[in-house]
Amino acid sequence: MGDSIKTARLVAGYFRHNLMSAMAYRGAFILQVVGMLLNDLMLLFFWWILFQRLPTLQGWDLGGVMTIYGVVAFGFGLAHVACGNAFRVAQVIASGDLDYYLTLPADPLVHLIVSRMSLPAWGDILFGLVVFILAGPERWLSLPLFVLLGLLTALVMTAFAVIVGSLSFWIGNADAIALQAVNALTTFSLYPVDIFPPAVRVLLYTVIPAAFVGSVPAALLEDLRWQNLVLMIAFTAGIVLVAAGVFYRGLRRYESGNRVTVRG
């Protein structure tokens, strides 16, 4: 128990510091947030055009796709704001920058992932919320569920990023491959999983768990089935455990490095 309180304090401390560091450059902060909002809107715009021509796609309508976008953007934003460094794990390991986290008395994985905040991701959080509320009538009623599912989605994304990033422990520099994998996860999560052929669908529930980032939580928001909620929670817990396992196993092989670095 003492440990989790300590971890929570650490996470809160970093959140504060990241925010302070970000606000050192106010103009850049606002510009990046607005830029990301526009970027997300563009993506949704194409779906809007599509649904002007056909009413539904494999049982999904514009409201459904907007829900997917809402939950993915919100989860993506949360993950990148709170655990921004999870998406740089490969790089941190390969460059030897893990040293810093290993000399301090905190859990190195938690410490590593929370020590960076992505600024434009605040725009994603905002976009996710707005799109979800606009996706259908009386959406604000299911806002608590939306936030819970967003948190789970964020955890799945973070854990996935840690797993692929940890490949650096074994193959030297997994930066490119990790980036590809995370991009694939995000891209696939934005499409309703039912539009894919069964073989691909299996992949999207396992190797690249995009279904648990987009379609599964979105379907829960449309129709709350308890067994699906349990599945979502169980999968999240599972992938988080796997991520921690992979990272700590790799840590034994860590080779450090001598690159000259400064902290951001």
């Binding site: 300590k6 304090r9 650490l10 401390g13 970093y14 510091h17 302070m20 560091s21 050192a24 450059y25 920058d97 893990l98 040293d99 810093y100 290993l102 000399t103 301090l104 008395p105 905190a106 859990d107 410490h111 030297g172 034994r252 092989r253 860590y254 080779e255 450090s256 001598n258 690159r259 000259v260 670095t261 400064v262 902290r263 951001g264």
Partner: protein, 332 residues
């Protein structure tokens, strides 16, 4: 009672070898050649509480690898080590509360924030009580004279100012051992001296055990009583810095200021380095002729205004040790 015990500690790295050019890259892709590098080859030593130990060696000798194993960053390939009764790579987090580490090439300060903010965050990580932190900060600010730029973003500090803050940051939690990896790297002479003074004060006032790596001979000479020389992953000397000098110094320089013109010195083992007017500098090989004999003869023959007998600089001594790695390790 030793607080650091190392026995037969070894670390081997594996790397992929690549030949030159694109062809080499392609070959490495399909038929990689794995190369074994024994960075540290089974070293053993102990360090007592309150000691100031220099771990010296050229680039790539295994200094950083050893220090990284002692703070728990790296897992060794074989061998044992205990720091304050803990195995570093197994009890890393608990050990971290009791040791401090400064890596000259890696900053722990936040680049865009003033040092004061980093200190707050570190205090939180080390779970330093807020009132205790304030007291400690006041002491460190005074000792390191960093009060003036505590609120200035780190990116605007000079390297010397930053390094003072780095060391202060690593002392917030009152560590019992301070590991410093190249703490004076890239600093100018004056700042180097200041950093050395601070480390010395820390050792004397707070009894902090100092374990530093450096390839700067000055660090060793000024800071440490004991030196361990490492080369190619092996400890080739472990003993007092003064003994190190005695054992490896086979020559002295004699500087003279004469009351009459220089007419030369003919005897074995003496070599004129420089001569201008009434001033002359001689190098004496003490394995051939004792220094007393040379000085005696000089005094008998010349009218001498001033005389100085010096050891060669530490740099030269260390260079000599590196050049003769087969020299048996000496006990201090």
């Amino acid at each position: 009672m030793p607080i650091i015990t190392v026995s037969e500690l070894a670390k081997t790295f594996w790397s992929r070898e690549k030949q030159r050019g694109l062809r080499g890259s392609l070959r490495a892709l399909f038929r990689p050649i794995r190369r074994k590098t024994e960075a540290v080859k089974g070293i053993s030593f102990t360090v007592d509480a309150g000691e100031r130990v220099a771990f010296i060696g050229p680039n790539g000798a295994g200094k950083s690898t050893t220090i990284k194993m002692l703070v728990g960053i790296l897992h060794p390939t074989s061998g044992q080590a205990e720091v304050l009764g803990k195995i570093p790579w197994k009890e890393r987090q608990r050990l971290a509360y009791e040791i401090g580490a400064v890596f000259g090439q890696k900053s722990q300060l936040w680049y865009h924030l003033p040092p004061a903010d980093t200190f707050d965050l570190l205090a939180r990580i080390y779970e330093v009580d807020p009132s205790e932190q304030r007291q400690r900060m006041d002491d460190l600010i005074e000792l390191f004279e960093i009060g003036d730029y505590l609120q200035v973003p780190v990116r605007k500090l000079s390297l010397g100012e930053r390094m003072r803050c780095e060391i202060a940051a690593s002392l917030l939690h009152r560590p019992r051992i301070l590991f410093l990896d190249e703490p004076t790297i890239g600093l100018d002479v004056v700042v180097k001296q200041r950093i050395r003074d601070l480390i010395l004060e820390l050792n004397q006032q707070e009894g902090v055990t100092i374990f530093l790596t450096s390839h700067d001979a000055g660090d060793v000479e000024v800071l440490c009583k004991r030196a361990m020389v490492i080369n190619n992953g092996e400890v080739i000397y472990d003993g007092r810095v003064s003994t190190l000098k005695r054992d490896y110094i086979h020559s002295k320089t004699v500087s003279l200021k004469l009351g009459q013109p220089w007419q030369g010195y003919d005897g074995p083992g003496v070599h004129t380095l420089k001569q201008r007017g009434y001033g002359v500098k001689l190098q004496v090989d003490t394995t051939i002729v004792p220094i007393e004999v040379v000085v005696g003869q000089l005094l008998a023959r010349y009218e001498i205004v001033d005389i100085n007998v010096d050891n060669p600089p530490m740099e030269e001594i260390i260079a000599r040790i590196y050049a003769s790695p087969r020299e048996p390790p000496q006990a201090g």
